[in-house]
């Protein structure tokens, strides 16, 4: 039953992804193609966060920090030290994964959502570093002159060219996620997000899987960061601040936590959101806040829940990851 579901997602994804290829041809101008690139980058970010939240049941409030580490490490290495953007990206992804392990190892051992608390502090530290290490990062004005990616002397700098490259990378990430969910680890994750105790007693190495999942999703966020920084050739600290992390959690929930298609919708919402919220003016922001409340009130399983047939909706209600153990459970 579950396998059939995943097979269906694979076929649907393959078809959908093939159709996406004609997007640059249909887009009326480069600006729209550029929005498409941002949608792809957001999809990596949100699909990986959804993997952690929706399937692993862990809340991270520093997804934007790993996105930023990816962008800044690769950006600084290539802009200031002349390292090849490819090597810089590789280094950025590996460092981000190592840092995630450092955060995950002490916190994921604990019951409850200490990861959320630790990552909140971590994002704050990373934000301060982006702003204050002026010599390297350019401080509050941002990191400029980041080179574009090149492949055998063929520059991947235009919107359309970069769209195809981002299409390829994002496709690989999504296929990785699909494979992971269909693997032993994927089944274990679904078990441990329902009940860690039950999973543990069935022999699932809960702690090891949680750390691996956190490191993997942080590395995926760093991949998105590398794409981002070598596409717009610039990085600004506020793109990666704590509020960005919070908004990622929000849009994943809006799209539908723990659903395969949720992040695809969420990425659409997130394309315009950071600009809207950082400029923060006008009636649109009020409208966004109110509609966020309304959607969560009336469709707690998110926008993707609306797309599913009614029967399937009843069959598999997405679980709500608990932010904290209930008080009653904590009392002896």
């Amino acid at each position: 039953m579950k396998r059939a579901g995943f097979a269906r997602n694979r076929v649907a994804f393959a078809l959908f992804w093939a159709v996406i290829l004609i997007f640059p041809a249909l887009a009326p101008n480069p600006f729209i193609v550029n929005l498409g690139v941002f949608w792809l980058i957001n999809l990596i970010l949100l699909a990986s966060l959804n993997l952690l939240m929706g399937y692993g049941g862990q809340i991270s409030l520093s997804h934007a920090a790993f996105f930023g580490l990816g962008a800044y490490i690769s950006g600084v290495l290539s802009a200031k030290f002349g390292v090849s953007p490819w090597l810089g990206s590789l280094a950025a992804i590996m460092v981000s994964a190592a840092v995630a392990a450092l955060i995950g190892l002490p916190t994921l051992r604990l019951k409850g959502h200490y990861l959320a608390m630790a990552t909140l502090g971590f994002n704050a530290v990373v934000s301060v570093l982006f702003v204050e290490l002026r010599g390297l990062t350019g401080g509050p004005n941002g990191l400029t002159n980041v080179p574009s990616l090149e492949l055998f002397g063929f520059s991947l700098s235009g919107d359309v060219r970069f769209f195809y490259f981002a299409w390829l990378v994002t496709g690989v990430v999504i296929v990785l996620i699909l494979n992971l969910l269909d693997s032993r680890m994927g089944r274990a994750l679904r078990a441990l997000s329902t009940s860690e105790v039950a999973a543990e007693s069935m022999g699932v190495p809960v702690f090891r899987y949680k750390v691996q999942l956190f490191v993997l999703t942080a590395a995926m966020a760093a991949v998105a960061g590398c794409l981002y920084v070598h596409h717009i050739n610039f990085a600004s600290p506020e793109t990666f601040d704590f509020m960005a992390s919070v908004m990622m959690v929000v849009v994943v929930a809006l799209g539908g936590t723990g659903t395969f298609w949720g992040p695809f919708l969420a990425a659409l919402v997130y394309v315009g959101l950071p600009e809207l919220l950082h400029a923060f003016e006008g009636f649109e922001v009020l409208l966004f806040g109110v509609s966020l409340v309304v959607v969560l009130l009336f469709f707690p399983s998110g926008l993707a829940g609306l797309l599913r047939p009614r029967r399937a909706r009843v069959e598999s209600r997405p679980r709500e990851p608990r932010a904290v153990p209930r008080l009653s459970e904590r009392r002896p």
């Binding site: 916190t107 301060v128 929000v250 923060f280 003016e281 009130l297 932010a323 904290v324 008080l327 904590r330």
Partner: protein
């Protein structure tokens, strides 16, 4: 100034900032206790308190002593309305869902304040003049003493409220066990509304007393909320005395690292310490040591 008076000066200003963090943290803890959710609107209520009081004082010309309770009451009403409209209608209220909803409430509150009261920073005059008070070798503005006084008064009042009054005990009962509280005739839903109202009022008071020192503007809330939440975590989420300790410790940490290490890195230093405390004592400084390691 010699070294010891520098330390004293830093300690006093750290305590004043910490007093604000403690009040905001208390607001977080009250909502957390009754819903298990992190209330992201808390910081916006702090901002709303300051903005509304400043508006009443400057534009409406009300006397300074009256805008303190009026501003706080307006935000209490805002807290009640937020809970009734956005949280109360939930059919299956889980902590994660409530947390996400409060993010929507926070964005909407911030936007509403910006659209109605404007984008300009607003201020209030200090309650009792601005001649610095000298303590030891250090000088602090009298408003900082008002902050500490307000914090102490609110902490004592909340202790009395939750320990001695029927309503306070009913709220604690509803927080401890919803079903059992409902069985003995407590209206659990109403207790959640009350928790939001008290949290809003405490936050607004913090916003009003700090406005003469720092000024305020529509976008000041996110930062204060973030600091308040960190303080609540530091002390132990859901523990009212933890809010006090967490707030003061965070304030001291920031002021000491700004004064002795580097003001640019004060947040980083404060959060590295916070991460460290979290790793060593996951339930916060005052938390129960009952966290079981898996």
């Amino acid at each position: 100034m010699d070294y010891s008076s520098v330390i004293l000066q830093l300690a006093l200003s750290g305590l004043a900032t910490g007093g604000i963090y403690a009040l905001v943290a208390l607001g977080f803890n009250i909502v957390f206790k009754s819903t298990d959710a992190i209330n992201f609107a808390q910081g916006e209520w702090v901002m709303a308190g300051g903005m509304i009081a400043a508006f009443l004082y400057q534009a409406a010309g009300l006397p300074l002593w009256s805008v303190v309770p009026l501003g706080a009451l307006a935000v209490v009403a805002l807290g009640a309305a937020s809970e009734r409209l956005a949280v109360h209608p939930l059919s299956s209220p889980g902590p994660m869902l409530i947390t996400l909803i409060t993010i929507g409430v926070a964005i909407a509150t911030k936007a509403a304040i910006m659209l109605t009261l404007g984008k300009a920073p607003a201020g209030l005059p200090a309650f009792t003049g601005s001649t610095p008070v000298h303590i030891g070798g250090a000088a602090i503005p009298p408003q900082a003493l008002w902050v500490l006084l307000t914090m102490a008064a609110v902490m004592v009042a909340s202790h009395f409220f939750f320990e001695r009054t029927l309503l306070g005990k009913a709220m604690r009962a509803a927080a401890a066990d919803r079903e059992a509280a409902a069985l003995v005739g407590i209206n659990v839903g109403r207790m959640v509304t009350r928790a939001f109202m008290i949290a809003a009022g405490v936050g607004a008071l913090a916003g009003i007393v700090v406005t003469p020192i720092t000024m305020t503007s529509f976008n000041a809330g996110t930062f204060l909320g973030f600091k308040g939440f960190s303080a609540a975590m530091l002390g132990g989420l859901g523990n009212p005395y933890g809010a006090l300790v967490g707030g003061l410790v965070l304030g001291l940490l920031e002021s000491m690292s700004a004064g002795l290490i580097s003001s640019a890195y004060k947040d980083a230093v404060a959060f590295v310490v916070l991460l460290f405390i979290l790793f060593v004592r996951p339930d916060g400084l005052l938390g129960r040591a009952a966290v079981s390691r898996v």
